[in-house]
């Protein structure tokens, strides 16, 4: 198991290097001369050449990448153009808030998705299954930004049930209760799409498992349907882990719309604000941090899978 863990961690390294290359390339495809935009249009050619040399921009691309990568490895992601603070602390603070929202949404999505998918797999051909299929299909098609706005309209302003923006109440806020109230609307909004995806994947997984021979073999040994379902569920866990990892990763990177709509002070909102200000270092750092989180999640998923499924460990 330890060996497996080490192997899995090792295989993540090339991926991370690849990720850094892709981000480096996105920096390089930015149209326009970065030096010119730093010094302004009236700067002299000499001043530009000087800065170009100082920033190492006259070096060949691989060298530029290596020096950029070395900074990256030390956690130096540069300074925010708009806020003049190190990008990393800015991004990590925001990422923490996103993690709260994404985790909450993932839990909601999971409960909902497993219910919907389970009903639709186990009650096939019945009305209840058709209804859950329709709900899942609908929820994967929903644009989050508009559903979020609608929830604000009807549940927040209409019924006055939940706050519409932020993470804590600015006046007498703070504490878990307040956080929870603020989480409900963005959390549910963010959960909708993953819930639909989980439902659909879980459905086909349950159908696959239930059609496996050992289910029937358990029946032939006299096990009750409930007990068979328990063992069947156990057999869906490896797949479920994969789905969970994918969806949590998706949420970490995908809540940008939700955060924007609900002014949730997370990575998405930060990236959105940085778009308006063309604060590219922040956007890059945001992408790197969430890609890193994604890779970590995948490793965790694989390890959990190995813990559940002896065939993976082998």
């Amino acid at each position: 198991m330890t060996l497996y863990l080490l192997k899995r961690l090792g295989s993540a390294i090339p991926i991370l290097i690849g990720v850094s290359i892709v981000v480096f390339i996105t920096i390089k495809i930015i149209p326009g001369d970065p030096v010119a935009s730093l010094l302004g249009p009236t700067s002299s050619p000499q001043a530009r050449a000087e800065l170009t040399a100082r920033l190492g921009l006259d070096q060949p691309l691989p060298i530029q990448y290596l020096s950029w990568g070395a900074h990256l490895f030390q956690g130096d992601l540069g300074d925010s153009i708009a806020k003049h603070v190190p990008v990393l602390s800015l991004v990590l603070d925001a990422f923490g808030n996103t993690l709260v929202l994404a985790t909450f949404a993932a839990v909601v999505a999971f409960v909902l998705g497993i219910l919907l998918g389970g009903v639709s797999a186990l009650r096939r051909g019945r009305v209840s299954a058709a209804i859950s299929n329709a709900i899942s299909l609908f929820s994967i098609s929903v644009p989050q930004y508009s559903i979020g706005l609608l929830l604000i309209i009807y549940l927040a302003t209409g019924a006055g049930l939940f706050p519409t923006a932020g993470m804590y109440d600015p006046i007498n806020g703070g504490g878990w209760g307040d956080l929870f109230l603020h989480l409900v609307l963005p959390g549910v909004t963010a959960a909708l799409v993953p819930a639909g995806i989980i439902a659909r994947m879980f459905r086909s997984c349950v159908i696959d498992v239930m059609s496996m021979d050992f289910i029937d073999a358990m029946r032939s040994r006299g096990l009750s349907e409930l007990r068979i379902l328990k063992h069947a569920f156990h057999n869906t866990l490896p797949t479920l882990m994969t789905i969970a990892g994918l969806q949590l990763g998706y949420l970490l990177g995908g809540v940008i719309f939700v955060e924007t709509v609900f002014s949730w002070p997370g990575l998405g909102l930060l990236v959105y604000q940085s778009i308006t200000q063309r604060d590219l270092p922040v956007i890059q750092a945001g992408v790197i941090v969430s890609a890193l989180a994604f890779v970590v999640i995948n490793v965790v998923v694989d390890v959990l899978q190995a813990a559940i499924d002896p065939r993976v460990r082998a």
Partner: protein, 338 residues
């Protein structure tokens, strides 16, 4: 080692473990009913082995599953299935569950697929023992599981107990499944092609194991196979199935030596003998019937070398052709007009 029923009078005298009367199974499919099995009747006594012999698709597995009432809602099952005196088709669901695995056990074709891949082998056997209260507590069940693993000839029962299915060989897995089958000392064991998925050498070992266990436990064994050799090896009685019906039945030695139905004859003719060179197999001409195909007369008529015009109009019935033997071919077994 084929024996006739006559040679073992003790078994013949023993109680009837399983009796099937006029069993029919049909499935609701797109646009109608498929009759997979019709008018199947036979009985097996304790200690006896009945082999259901037939080509793929002839309805052997459907029959076996119907006996255990394992067919889903889309299947319509009629007739009678009597298990040690209980009418299985009339029981409530919980009562049937109580029988499955305890009074009647199924050894499936593919032992690999029949085991839960995520749980240790020992736990899966223990579960069955506890479920049917064949052991007073967990400890006893675990001890009994080890005993069972030894009884089915697994060399290192302790290790097998802790193994996951994928860590064992096919033959060992089949032994595990057999151990599970005999765990509650059932009256009837149904083995559905228990050796098809195995290597030839392992096949023989497993068949020997069945013979040995049966001798010890005095269980009735219903073995399903498409392999005439297996039938010759283990059967006391044979029932040959074709297109969902039994076409010939009787003591194995007699049926396999002097078949009274053209289909049984064709099966035997198709066997390779020491004289026939490789690749010179006498395959039965024509193709077996497609699922759900209906025949006005004898289902075998299109492939039968003895077929007469009358065969295609009237459906032949299974009639006694010799003491203890029945066949469904009036051409080979003419009866005097009444």
């Amino acid at each position: 080692m084929s024996q006739t029923v006559q040679e073992i009078p003790a078994r013949v005298a023993s109680a009837e473990a399983l009796r099937v009367d006029d069993l029919a199974v049909s499935f609701a499919v797109h646009g109608g009913q498929v009759h997979a099995v019709r008018s199947v009747s036979f009985h097996v006594r304790a200690g006896q082995t009945l082999v259901l012999l037939g080509e793929s698709g002839s309805g052997k597995s459907v029959t076996a599953r119907a006996i255990m009432r394992l067919h889903g809602r889309r299947a319509k099952v009629t007739g009678r299935v009597e298990l040690s005196g209980r009418e299985v088709l009339a029981l409530s669901d919980p009562d049937v569950r109580a029988l499955r695995g305890s009074r009647i056990a199924l050894v499936p074709q593919d032992p690999t697929a029949a085991l839960d891949p995520l749980r240790r082998v020992g736990a899966q056997i223990t579960e069955v023992l506890l479920l049917h209260r064949a052991a007073p507590d967990k400890k006893a069940a675990q001890a009994r599981t080890r005993e069972l693993l030894r009884a089915v000839g697994i060399p290192d029962p302790e290790r097998a107990y802790r193994s996951f299915p994928h860590e064992m060989s096919g033959g060992m897995r089949q032994r595990v499944v057999i151990a599970m089958g005999i765990s509650c000392d059932p009256d009837v064991i149904i083995a559905d092609e228990p050796t098809t998925a195995l290597d030839v050498t392992v096949q023989a070992q497993i068949l020997d194991l069945f013979a040995e266990l049966q001798g010890r436990l005095n269980t009735a064994l219903l073995m399903v196979t498409h392999d005439v050799h297996v039938a010759a090896d283990v059967a006391d009685l044979v029932a040959v199935m074709y297109a969902g019906r039994i076409v010939e039945t009787g003591p194995a030695a007699d049926v396999l030596k002097t078949p009274r139905h053209p289909y049984t004859q064709a099966l035997l003719d198709a066997l390779p003998t020491p004289q026939t060179a490789r690749g010179e197999l006498h395959a039965i001409a024509g193709s077996p019937p497609v699922a759900g195909q209906e025949f006005p007369g004898c289902a075998f008529a299109d492939r039968c070398t003895h077929a007469l015009d009358t065969c295609r109009t009237a459906e032949p019935r299974l009639v006694e052709v010799a003491p203890g033997r029945r066949a469904a071919c009036p051409v080979l077994n003419p009866t005097e007009a009444p």
